[in-house]
Amino acid sequence: MSEREFVLEHVMEPGTGKALPVVRGQILRIEQVGNGQCADFNAFNLHDYKEYFHTGRTRHLHGLFPAEGDMLWSAPPRERPMFTIIRDTVGTNDIQYPRCTGFLYEYQYGFEQHTNCHDILAESIREYGLTPDDVHDSFNFWMHTGVDDKGRLYIKRMLAKPGDYVELIAHFDVLAVPNVCGADIFSTSNFELKPLKVQVFDATPEERERWLLPGERQYKNQRTPADFKLSEIKRTRELTRDASYSAEWPVYPIVKRPLDVPLGEDEYALIDGLRANGGFGETDADIVRHAFFSWWIEEYMQGPKHQHAGQ
């Protein structure tokens, strides 16, 4: 096994973060220095900051608590894997909670000023000319959370210990922005703030072979500004209507046509059997449609299947 090439190291003190380029094939390592500290994390395409990390697509594809082997995805309409988590020594990460903010601490706790991830991330990305509006929902490394039986989120005690770490390999050139989470009045980081060490390495050839995805976009719908009708970034804050606008919906109109499905007595008996289930619809057509598309999802759909057929 080859040795990784060391690129840089930085220790983030409490109240701080760091924006650092991580290019394709490099590994970002975030390591616990103290006894359990949450790292909030933002990421941007280094060459097009409008492509940035998206908790929603990541949550959709990897569930509520992504860990080793899962990927961090960019927002629609780009939707590319930005990183893969290649090592996670704890496995408790969160993408439900948004970054904490100054408002949160003032509204809920009465602090007019308090360390908060939004402001720390904003100050970190200012080094690259980005603004507080560019901060987005964070990947929360080591934040140990759950969902109760009523669907409400809660925060559990941080499990990470000194020396625990996560490693992420970058699939394209990224501005990575970890920060020391500012929450010292929640169990997020066990009620105290501690430093975190960040390092960047060049991956070994073996690691590149194992983890790196192809550099080219794999799907037509992983779009770039070249695909946009308006590809320039808007320069003004005021919103005004474009008087020349004429809608050009991508697929419109939707036209329905009748389709004859040849069914015999045996198939109608199957329809009656599914009707009794109650989860496939009422009419014969509803039931055949639901069952057919359920088969298609089971046979052809890639990725997680958010489908629960019947009751």
Binding site: V261, N277, A285, W295
Partner: protein, 54 residues
């Protein structure tokens, strides 16, 4: 029997017909998938578990 499909669903049915494994027409493909789903999930049908036991 008749169901309604839109142009996007017709594209999907076109691909399934082109595979040549599930029928030669859209209607035959829908019939195939419907039956396949029912056979794969007897537990979802009234009497289905009995059918499996037999």
């Amino acid at each position: 029997m008749t169901i309604e499909v839109n142009q996007q669903q017709e594209q999907m049915l076109d691909r399934l017909v082109a595979e040549g494994r599930h029928g030669e027409t859209h209607g035959e493909v829908v019939r195939y998938g419907f039956i396949a789903f029912c056979e794969a999930h007897p537990e979802l049908r009234e009497g289905g578990e009995d059918a499996r036991d037999e």
